[in-house]
């Protein structure tokens, strides 16, 4: 019997499998271990990570490192992906024509139309004139209400109020004549005065009806068809708000423009095609399908897509120490997304959802200095170090140790940077590496929820949500309640929480549980389901997923609480048996390559043994 450890150096984790291999190739698996990969996969910086993980595996097995006969390492080709995101639309307000935001508590209800006048200018207004009063910073609510009431008594028709502070109800409650009041307008000083304006506040639980309707605005301001056409984007931007202000300035406008995103050129082995970035993800992926296999991709210089690909190349060349022009993009995944962005020219910090395209690119670099790595490992561990077979072959062998699997078997490896698939065929494995995986999902969640916090986005990706309903209980996203002995912290009160294994973290946005859950699931779907089908299609015999027998899902993202189900559901349509791997019946979707290395080693040993004992 000899003690061997199979080691899989992955992009983010290094995994080990300690096993006793007998003379006839029989295996007794002892333990598995997992640690972080040190440095870029396939370089000598991996040594310390490997040594650590081997030490842990042996410790878990209760074995003396001195008994170690050999360490088996996979042939590691670094596959690295990069990603970039660019908005392709932009909303700009010129000359401050509208305020469309959702203060928590606007006051009053209804629609008011009049000429904008500063609060200080109210006494100068002529009786009978219709005005919208603009209350600036520092005016107390009682003074504001008293001033407006005095004007009303004089016969001035104050039809609406725009206020700076969070004062709307305080003012509205003190008015003799109830009018709509919109508050929390941060840049109230920039509201143009002496212009015709409309203020609308909807009843609680409703949204505005007049200012979100283009003909409503046309009626209020008596617009002709041409002017109505110009004001249309304003109405669209106000849809769904509980309160809004529209000021009609002569030159005012709100523009909804598309940013020239540039052309993406996909260079295949046979042909070359170009596609406009703003055509959207579907069009880009369709073009990719027609030029596959991809040799490289290029972006039009001076445009957004040019910048995106340049960033990917720079990152790659930095990581791999390759010259920038030596970096070849071998796959791209385009995903439609949206980004909440502060509207240029807005007066109350309004946001608009802008369309964007996220692009993940995958680069396959030259084979790492494996011999050098093996040599360093030999010195560090003091035992034999063998470089094993191709990674995909090893992963397939490892996946086959999942109970209930058989050939023909395909694996789907869901990682952080790439989605890989391999299928065993007569002459070894056929494998693909595709761009887009866990990291892209994290980025989509971060930008679509406007978090600007990748750590939190990562937690939202990995863990379920809940809402703090009282100081002592939370409502989980599936509707069940969970109770606590100790009161929850005040910053969690009434917030949506993400239930990480390190405790509950409040999500500081106004999005509800449903919205966050929807963004999370949709991001996973757009990346993993799309890539799973793309990957299986490329490795399946004849490009038909139906011809695969068993699909085993592996990799870190296979541990996710919902991704494997989404993939099973999508693949089930093809009549294929698909599920999350359980390597050696104990390891779950982890440790496949490390286990495969040992299995391959044991098989080779058995063959040798038989050859030596053939009776002559």
């Amino acid at each position: 019997m000899s003690l061997v450890v199979g080691v899989d150096i992955g992009n983010s984790t290094t995994e080990a499998c300690a096993t006793l291999v007998g003379e006839h190739g029989e295996m007794t698996f002892l333990s598995g271990a997992l640690g972080g990969t040190t440095g870029v996969k396939g370089t000598v910086e991996n040594v310390s990570g490997v040594v650590e993980v081997v030490r842990r595996a042996l410790a878990a097995a209760g074995r003396d490192p001195a008994d170690l006969a050999a360490v088996l390492v996979n042939e590691a080709t670094p596959v690295i992906s990069g990603l970039a995101m660019e908005t392709i639309t932009e909303t700009i307000i010129t000359e401050s024509t509208m305020i469309g935001h959702n203060p928590d508590t606007p006051g009053g209800a209804g629609l008011g139309v009049g000429t904008t006048v500063a609060f200080a200018g109210l006494p100068d207004c002529a009786a009978g004139s219709a005005v919208i009063c603009v209350v600036g910073a520092g005016v107390d609510f009682e003074d504001a209400a008293a001033g407006i009431n005095a004007a009303t008594l004089r016969g001035v028709r104050v039809t609406g109020v725009v206020a700076h502070a969070d004062d709307a109800n305080l003012i509205a409650n003190r008015l003799r004549e109830p009018v709509p009041v919109v508050d929390e307008v941060t840049l109230v000083d920039r509201v143009p005065l002496g212009m015709r304006a409309a203020v609308e506040v909807a009843e609680q639980g409703r949204t505005i009806r007049t200012l979100s309707n283009v003909y409503g605005i046309a009626t209020v301001f008596e617009l002709d068809p041409e002017q109505t056409r110009l004001i249309a984007p304003v109405a669209r931007a106000l849809v769904g708000n509980r309160s809004a202000v529209v000021v009609r300035t002569p030159a005012g406008d709100i523009a909804d423009r598309r940013i020239p995103a540039g052309t993406l050129t996909l260079i295949g082995e046979q042909t070359k095609r170009s596609v406009e970035m703003d055509a959207g993800a579907a069009e880009i992926m369709d073009t990719l399908r027609r030029v596959r296999p991809l040799v490289d991709a290029a972006g039009e210089p001076g445009t957004h897509v040019g910048g995106m690909l340049a960033r990917v190349r720079d990152t790659m060349s930095e990581l791999t120490e390759m010259p920038v022009d030596g970096v070849r993009i071998q796959d791209v995944l385009a995903v439609d997304t949206f980004v909440p962005q502060r509207i240029t020219g807005g007066l109350a910090g309004e946001f608009a959802l802008e369309s964007a395209v996220a692009l993940a690119a995958m680069v396959r670099t030259s084979k790492g200095p494996m011999e050098l790595l093996a040599e360093r490992l030999r010195a560090a561990l003091g035992c034999e170090v063998l470089i094993g077979g191709v990674e995909a072959d090893m992963a397939l062998l490892g996946a086959l140790t999942t109970p209930g699997t058989d050939r023909p078997l395909a694996i789907l490896d869901l990682g952080g940077g790439s989605t890989d698939a391999a299928v065993s065929s007569g002459d070894g494995a056929h494998s693909v590496h595709l761009a887009g995986a866990g990291d892209l999902v994290t980025n989509l969640i971060d930008s679509e929820l406007g978090l600007d916090n990748l750590e939190l986005a990562e937690e939202i990706k990995k863990f379920p949500l809940a809402k703090a309903e009282s100081f002592f209980h939370i409502r989980m996203e599936d509707g069940t309640a969970r109770f606590f002995q100790e009161p929850l912290p005040a910053d969690a009160f009434a917030r949506v929480l993400v239930l990480t294994d390190a405790g509950m973290h409040p999500i500081p946005t106004r999005h509800g549980v449903e919205k966050i859950r929807e963004v999370r699931r949709s991001a996973k779907h757009r990346v993993f389901v799309v890539n799973a089908l793309r990957a299986l299609e490329q490795v399946a015999p004849g490009g038909d997923i139906r011809h695969l027998g068993f699909v085993v899902v592996l990799g870190g993202s296979a541990l996710d609480f919902e991704i494997p189900d989404m993939i099973s559901e999508a693949v089930a349509a093809f009549g294929v048996v698909s599920g999350t791997g359980n390597v050696r019946g104990t390891e779950g979707p982890r440790n496949a390559v490390a286990t495969g290395l040992v299995v391959s080693h044991a098989a080779a040993r058995a063959v040798m043994e038989r050859a030596l004992h053939i009776p002559r």
């Binding site: 928590d104 508590t105 910073a137 609510f141 700076h164 502070a165 969070d166 004062d167 709307a168 109800n169 305080l170 409650n173 929390e184 941060t186 609680q204 309903e469 009282s470 100081f471 002592f472 009161p487 005040a490 910053d491 009160f493 009434a494 917030r495």
Partner: protein
Amino acid sequence: MRCTSPGDRPAGRAGRIPPAVVLLHRHGDPRVLREILAGLEEEGVPCRTEEAADGGARELAFAAAQVSSLGVGVGVDAMGNTCVHHAKLPRDAPAAAGPAGSARVMGHNAARLVVRIPFKRQEDSHA
């Protein structure tokens, strides 16, 4: 949750105590009390004000929460220090507390405790 008239109200009208946050203060600065009440009113939550003989902001807030039919109390000491408490919370763990300068926000948060929306932070207010 529309606000009816705020401030003092004769308790026990028609034999029932109307739902309200209770504010207990000790010769509180009227300006501080006004700000707290304004915060509550803006959120549309009714409040009843009572004067207490002694106690710190936290004790007053806890006592107020116990008598409030909404389970939420606000305490203000002679210095204007303000504390917001909930009847179900441990005595020494109030929901929020702050100096006189934060009175408006404390009023908002007492109301938000009732209507169950996330607290307002001092830096969010424009005042």
